[in-house]
Symmetry: C2
């Protein structure tokens, strides 16, 4: 069925966690779907965090690999994870959605269900967006998340100091491992059980961990692991003008994941942060394990990248280059992911 | 040349009006491009306006019709116009941009030039966004604009009362006329001179008019004319639960535009607003003509739409249906525009 846009909007407005048309208000949202703009009121003393993230069919997901619920969940999770990486509280989401004319209504419903289930879990209201027909039969989504944080308290990428310890939450490589299996299933025809790879299909943004680290002023710099540890560690080093030494054996790997997947696999949505070495960091925060993987060092001149990242593996030191993560898109370029953003990542 | 995303981001950060990496701040922007999120600080007593708008190649623009500068300008103008329609002040923009791998760098530069020229005209900072490779060789942009407005003062669509007068700014139908000419040029091969159709290629959002109306508490309801007068008037009637009577001869038409183009043509980005009939409205605000075109009436039961809109033309009254605007996209659906939004339009 062709999607009448009006009915799509009406549909969204009726769903729990969305809408708030007319005079209805909730929390910070003074006006939601149904006007020229949404209106939000942030309490005095709060700053506004803003992040936007594409979820494009064929680049960030595939319809034959990802259920509509998973696509909706992952779409919002990308934005929530960015808010987590600042230590912020997510407040409102805005969804721009371009759909192919012949997309079954059931797909859209599943997508919205996945997105809104995650939204309600974190008290986030879907307060607006845009809809359009997709020009080339691909599903195109762009999610905007607004968050709040106490004035001046947000944890930036730029605060890491030489001597700081480097930590990661959870386990790495799970998402890359799932994608590898999905890719193999193309040839074997064997279907993957999504329940075995929750971190890929339904990643949990580490909101509670970020909030804890901010509340206790523990982290000097933070980023979420969306591009992969190697690339995201370089982002911190670049913005903080420092280098880093990490140890391969300290990196927490998801079961079955290789070191390469843990180093360069993206979309794990764990947090990578730094903290003064003498600061005591709990081994588990909000139920999520926290592991030290290395140390921030002074920036070194003459390395291939301006900020020098070294990895120690079985007693051998090597330079760790930002190898991001080769996505599953089959387009011409070798780097179709291009995830690091024109900013607010 | 394939666009290395990193260089695209670096390019944007270097452009005037964009970026603000690291510690640099400007106005409300505490942190711009280069972290997980941007950080904005709104003064106490201000509310935050949020709007998002797609600009998709083949739906909202065509590369053979629109210069990159025009596409960039129109992309941002859509968001600014939504802020204008609330009476707000635009503050920051966020751009999500997916590009084909083989897009010439000159196109991207022109696009950013057009977008940033308009941004600087209104003191708007490009504070973030996302970049990706386009999955199907189409240019895909999504613009987010954040604006500010005094608490509780934003002009909504829902405040029109029976007896209020209905006004429009400027002239209508110019954009539809230009598109008609563009469409004819496909057959004739005759190139259109964009300078003759500034309202289509470089529309000016009516920020100053919206701000004036808010400052003088003149407007009871307002919307920007992006979908076309017939559709946008229905939006006001729907949200205000009223009807409307307008007169064909009172509608200010752009030179050469037909009544149909003035009624149903979209993307003029003028303002449509209502005000108490006894309230004196200047004939010109911030240099833009303001014309009364009709009167708000009580909602009538039994009309085909729940809110009844009548047009009087040469003494004959007819129902005015929301015929929005048939776009130039050549996809299967008859309503490829689907501009009215999953909210913040």
């Amino acid at each position: 069925l062709p999607l009448a846009e009006k009915s799509l909007i009406a549909r969204i407005r009726r769903m729990p966690g969305a809408g708030l048309s007319g005079a209805a208000t909730s929390g910070l949202i003074r006006l939601g779907i149904g006007d020229d703009t949404a209106i939000l009121r942030f309490p005095a003393g709060q700053e506004v965090l803003v992040t936007t993230d594409f979820s494009l069919e064929g680049v960030h997901f595939r319809r034959d690999w990802h259920s509509p619920e998973s696509v909706g969940h992952r779409c919002l999770a990308r934005g929530l994870s960015d808010i987590a990486a600042m230590g912020g509280e997510p407040e409102a989401a805005f969804l721009s959605l371009a759909l192919p004319a012949r997309l079954p209504q059931a797909w859209v419903d599943g997508f919205l269900r996945g997105l809104l289930a995650l939204a309600s879990q974190y008290g986030v209201t879907l307060a607006g967006g845009d809809t359009a027909q997709s020009p080339k039969e691909r599903i195109l989504a762009d999610i905007v998340v607004l968050g709040s944080v106490l004035q001046g308290k947000a944890v930036r990428r730029s605060g890491a100091k030489p001597g700081d310890a480097i930590y990661v939450t959870g386990e790495l490589g799970a998402s890359a491992l799932a994608l590898k299996k999905l890719s193999l299933s193309l040839h074997s025809g064997k279907k993957l059980n999504p329940k075995k790879y929750p971190r890929h299909f339904f990643p949990e943004p580490r909101i509670a961990v970020g909030r804890y680290l901010l509340a206790h002023a523990m982290a000097s710099a933070m980023i979420d692991l969306s591009d992969g540890l190697s690339t995201d560690l370089h982002h911190i080093c670049e913005e903080s003008r420092v280098g880093a030494h990490i140890s391969a054996e300290l990196i927490p790997r998801a079961e079955g994941a290789t070191l390469q997947q843990a180093l360069h696999g993206g979309e794990d949505y764990e947090l990578l942060f730094t903290a003064p070495a003498k600061r005591k960091i709990p081994r588990s925060i909000a139920g999520v394990p926290v592991r030290r993987i290395g140390t921030v060092v002074q920036q070194k001149r003459g390395s291939r990248t301006s900020h020098h990242v070294m990895i120690l593996d079985h007693g051998k030191a090597a330079e760790l280059l930002p190898r991001g993560w080769e996505h599953f898109a089959r387009e011409s370029s070798k780097k179709p992911k291009s995830k690091s953003q024109a900013s607010p990542k």
